[in-house]
């Protein structure tokens, strides 16, 4: 039987993968993708809790509303972040975090 703990463990694994990506990768774009993975992992545990905690026999929709807002904010964040990466690439011709070590040049 699949229990709440199964979902929480899978969500934690996905979060750990995202964390590892942020720690190990050098390319800004891939780091950004890993951040998206961590956000989605949080969404998975929110939805699992919403299904687990029934209110009047229905899933707790407050949790799913929160997931909806997280997805919206993440989409806005991706747009702004990628615009910043493009601006950075124009200025430095690189997206490797090893080459971007100063705030202003």
């Amino acid at each position: 039987m699949v229990t709440l703990n199964h979902y929480l463990f899978v969500s934690g694994l996905l979060f750990t993968l995202g964390l590892t990506g942020v720690m190990l990768r050098r390319s800004l774009i891939v780091i950004f993708m890993s951040l998206e993975m961590m956000l989605s992992a949080a969404n998975l545990s929110l939805v699992a809790f919403s299904r687990f905690n029934l209110v009047n026999g229905l899933p707790n929709y407050n949790g799913q509303a929160l997931v909806f807002f997280i997805i919206t904010v993440a989409a806005a964040e991706v747009a702004v972040g990628l615009a910043i990466i493009v601006a950075l690439f124009r200025a430095r011709q690189t997206t490797s975090v090893d080459d971007i070590t100063s705030m202003k040049y």
């Binding site: 929480l8 799913q64 909806f68």
Partner: protein, 187 residues
């Protein structure tokens, strides 16, 4: 149904691993798309149909197209084999392992989560839940089906109406911000 959970979580985790290990950013992006599809399938298994569809449309659709667009626009090459910083590598791996071990120990002592998911009862509490729902949704509830989109919509537009307006303003601000950031000359 349990088999589906294992299949989709395996897809999600394996392709998530692909994002982290592949050296080509395009491969990473496409792996992330498949990983998000597996995640959407898990959402749908949890009866969150609306969130699952939104996950596919927004993440696997819009966001990942944006990522691929930027990767191609910047013409990023695969990372070359540069001398690896072994200290940083070991640090990242150790951090991940510690995190997983801690997660396993916390979950093994979390007894409440070892119960299965409770069954949904639509009909018993129909009168309390049906308030403010259109007739079509009430009929679906009477047939023991979940009118998920109606219920999420009711929650968002009643309990979370003000945050919804704030998020709309946030989207507008981020659109304007992206246009300003993309201008060639900042004066």
């Amino acid at each position: 149904m349990d088999v589906l959970f294992y299949i989709f979580s395996a897809i999600m985790i394996l392709f998530g691993l692909g994002v982290v290990v592949s050296r080509n950013p395009v491969t990473s992006a496409l792996c992330l798309v498949v990983s998000f599809l597996g995640l959407a399938a898990l959402f749908i298994q949890l009866d969150a149909f609306f969130i699952g569809i939104v996950q596919i449309l927004v993440y696997a659709g819009a966001v990942m197209v944006l990522f691929l667009f930027i990767i191609m626009l910047l013409d990023l090459k695969s990372e070359e084999h540069q001398p690896m910083n072994y200290m940083a590598f070991a640090g990242g791996v150790i951090l991940a392992v510690v995190f997983v071990v801690q997660l396993a120990s916390v979950l093994s002592s979390f007894k409440a989560g070892e119960l299965g998911f409770p069954l949904q009862q639509h009909e018993l509490t129909l009168a309390e839940n049906a308030e403010g729902l259109p007739e079509a949704a009430q009929e679906r509830m009477a047939e023991e089906k979940l009118p998920d989109v109606h219920l999420v919509g009711r929650t968002i537009f009643t309990h979370f109406n003000f945050p919804l307006q704030v998020v709309a303003v946030l989207l507008l601000v981020s659109t304007i911000g992206v246009v300003i950031l993309s201008k060639r000359k900042l004066t």
